[in-house]
Subunit: 331 residues, 2 copies
Amino acid sequence: MKMKPNLVITSVLVSVVLNFWKPTVQAQDLESWNNTETKSAIVEFVERVTAEGNADFVPPEERIAVFDNDGTLWSEKPFYFQLAFAFDRIKELAPKNPQWQDKPILKAAIDGDLKTVLEGGEHALIEIVMATHSGITTTEFEEIVNQWIKTARHPKTGLRYQEMVFQPMLELMRYLRKHKFETWIVSGGGIEFMRPWSEKVYGIPPQQVIGSCIKVKYEVRDGIPVLVRLPELEFIDDKAGKPVGIHKFIGRRPIAAFGNSDGDLEMLQWTTSGDGARFGLIVHHTDKEREFAYDRDSSVGRLDKGLTEAAEKNWTVVDMKKDWSTVFQKK
Amino acid sequence: MKMKPNLVITSVLVSVVLNFWKPTVQAQDLESWNNTETKSAIVEFVERVTAEGNADFVPPEERIAVFDNDGTLWSEKPFYFQLAFAFDRIKELAPKNPQWQDKPILKAAIDGDLKTVLEGGEHALIEIVMATHSGITTTEFEEIVNQWIKTARHPKTGLRYQEMVFQPMLELMRYLRKHKFETWIVSGGGIEFMRPWSEKVYGIPPQQVIGSCIKVKYEVRDGIPVLVRLPELEFIDDKAGKPVGIHKFIGRRPIAAFGNSDGDLEMLQWTTSGDGARFGLIVHHTDKEREFAYDRDSSVGRLDKGLTEAAEKNWTVVDMKKDWSTVFQKK
């Protein structure tokens, strides 16, 4: 058989491509990940579950990956960014709420007395959130968050908070979505604090964000339906609450979970104890120069039991200093 | 310019296709819908929001459509199908729970005394659900639902419950998804009663099913993580609870809502009062021969205020008898 010259060229090209083309990782896919064991572990897992015919193949509709937010997708030091938002809100609202001066925790927050607030633990944080996040409609709250996230700056780096998102994690989420994973946020932070910007910043739409929440009530005001935020806690999406939140919102067990603190322990246990191939990963903050370094003794984002259990259960641990060539989002 | 013959043919074909091709409705798209105003209203709305450049264009990520389940996607007579499931469960569990004989509602359910149960209203239904749907793990419950839905049969038609799904609504959901809508269920029924089969029957994955739920708790039993269902009500996704459930799970206002009873009124109000093009539709059960006929006076699936408000607000009302050429799912 005689082939026309352009057909010959095409055939040669096709066979070259078929022989050298690696279907899963391309150079630009995980470019901020150094070529360490951590990157290999991620790529190997994705190849195992996406290769048709493989014993560990998982159909696309079951490829659910869950990500903690604070400390996993963006920084969380010197304290959760939502607390900075709440502090800004409480100062703005204080003049109209003189009764807050009689409440020690709220007064401390107004005065910027971080030490007293943090010593009050979870209850203090909840009290501040109740005071500052309720009493308005969901639409009003969304606008306030949008305004804040565009303008507020981190006290240490001077960056906007959205600029402190981790570049390697953005690449990882894109890489997973490219392989037909659904990427979800499962955070102890407020669901309505994240949803206004999660799609733009992370590529995750609001309906794939799970978080803590206060109650909301439907009302018709002058003929216009609104949803009003109530000063009543509904759900804390942290620790043993994370598998509960996952079950409630997704209704199906994830096959991969990504966290960074002991608050993510139960989510990692629940995810990795399912049948078939599973993947658990913990981001270990080891880079004092480029970000922050902390683990077993930290009050915010403590990683103690998680580090021990990661070794026992073969979860992958990211050493930020060693594994990431870039930390914060590239401009 | 001289064109080669095959180029000329291609050009002619392209212009023929461009002139006659109607992009949105093809014959098979909504084939169980008669050519009435109802069908036109649906098609016109979809064309308005999906035509790029149109003032009412909605980007795909905001094309959220919400569907009630009982009476909207499948029948709900003589009583909600989940109640039939609960009755079957309570009879099975009764021998091991002799204490139920002392509780009038539970005893009535065990004895099949439907009248007493229905007279007890919502509280009676909740008591029965608490008794029969809790105390086991989420995995165990899922298996029980799967087994029941495969085998149980409707008392009047003798059909399996899944065979009483409405064919026109299946076509409508497929038509919307083809136009990049996300289709969600927002039901007063139990979220975990629907999720095991919603993907297979409706093409709706578990993470797009919203419903009423009881509390769930994370536990590690002999080293194995489980989620245990507790006899404690968490959320009723009905009436004013529907916009609340939509906000919680989706975090974005739908642009189209489909219901059939006054339980869907607030969902229709919330959806259709947003900015831009909106669509509200009510399925009116008018076909005594092929299904059931009921509205303002029915205890199950009452449609009274909704029918009045539909006229005021220009919601589309399906007249099942007139608008649907087929009622139940085709085999």
